[in-house]
Amino acid sequence: MESKRAEFLSGVRAELPILIGVIPFGMIYGVLALGAGLSSSAAQAMSVVVFAGSAQLIIAQLVGVSAPGLVIVLTASIVNLRHALYSASLAPYVQKLNSVWKWSLAYLLTDEAYAVTVMYYNRSIDEQLKNVVSGASEYNPGSKHWYFLGAGLALWSTWQVSTAVGIFLGAQIPASWSLDFTLALTFIALVVPALRDKPSVLAALAAGLTAVLTAGLPLKLGLVAASLVGIIVGLWSESRL
């Protein structure tokens, strides 16, 4: 019981730096959603039902210009395609959990929760690999899903509160504070120590450069293309070693 609680709390703690950047983002969504003509209740409900920042912004804007409903749903789905990668990436770690856990964690699987959780699982895999000598052969999830839950719920509650603040107060945080930069910084802090061998360095470089080249593509398709290029380059580099 103690270790579940400890895992949950360290998940929350790991998510805290990211939340600094999420708060202004949530507020901006709230402001824009009302500006696009959504009611307060619809704007807030979308944060619960869709729970995906970029997609919510796009849905609100498309509703604002009266785009056809199916086009909006399709657009939102394409924007969220990258989550399939996250789902595949975390699937091996949660496969032993029961369905209620899987269904709950899938709901909480956002960019921000994924980033800290996958790094935590990777670190624990390394520790377990060191113990291979002692006979451990299969990944033992232990209570690590509580870490995932902690990170996910911390983000979820912050997202709900900050969209509510945006809806009721409007954008109050000046852009000159550059708080959105904390998201990029957190991802730098997570990715740099994970670049331990040549294939992962090449995967990161290839993905990053492709993302810059494809930044003009709509609907975050550049992010999906860049990730795939990075993965392919990583596999290619690994097979040559």
Binding site: V50, L109, L185, A204, G208
Partner: protein
């Protein structure tokens, strides 16, 4: 289509995407190359998010000393590499950006 229907459909599709592999893992045969590919998802995805944030903060490619986010980000990358400390990396990167913004008009 009403906003509520749009919202519910978008939410269901988003949830389906997030659940997809988590639900199917173990029920379908995963090819070996796919298993090996998963290791590259974190560095690829995170870099694909970070690079444009640093190299094109205002939407166009800017590799110059006037790009303060690039300078602060490179410094943060160095701190992350040396210390592996998330909080310190964010603190140094954020402080660097705010100082640079204050110093350079």
């Amino acid at each position: 289509m009403s906003i509520w229907l749009i919202m519910i459909l978008s939410g269901l599709v988003t949830y389906g995407i997030r659940l997809s592999f988590i639900q199917l893992f173990g029920k379908i045969e995963v090819p070996l190359w796919l298993g090996r590919a998963l290791r590259f998802v974190p560095p690829a995805v995170l870099s694909a998010i970070v690079f444009p944030e640093l190299l094109m903060p205002s939407g166009t490619l800017d590799i110059s000393l006037n790009n303060l986010r690039l300078l602060a980000g490179v410094l943060a990358g160095y701190v992350a590499w040396r210390t592996k400390n998330v909080v310190l990396t964010i603190a140094v990167g954020m402080a660097a950006l705010l100082v640079l913004q204050a110093v350079i008009p």
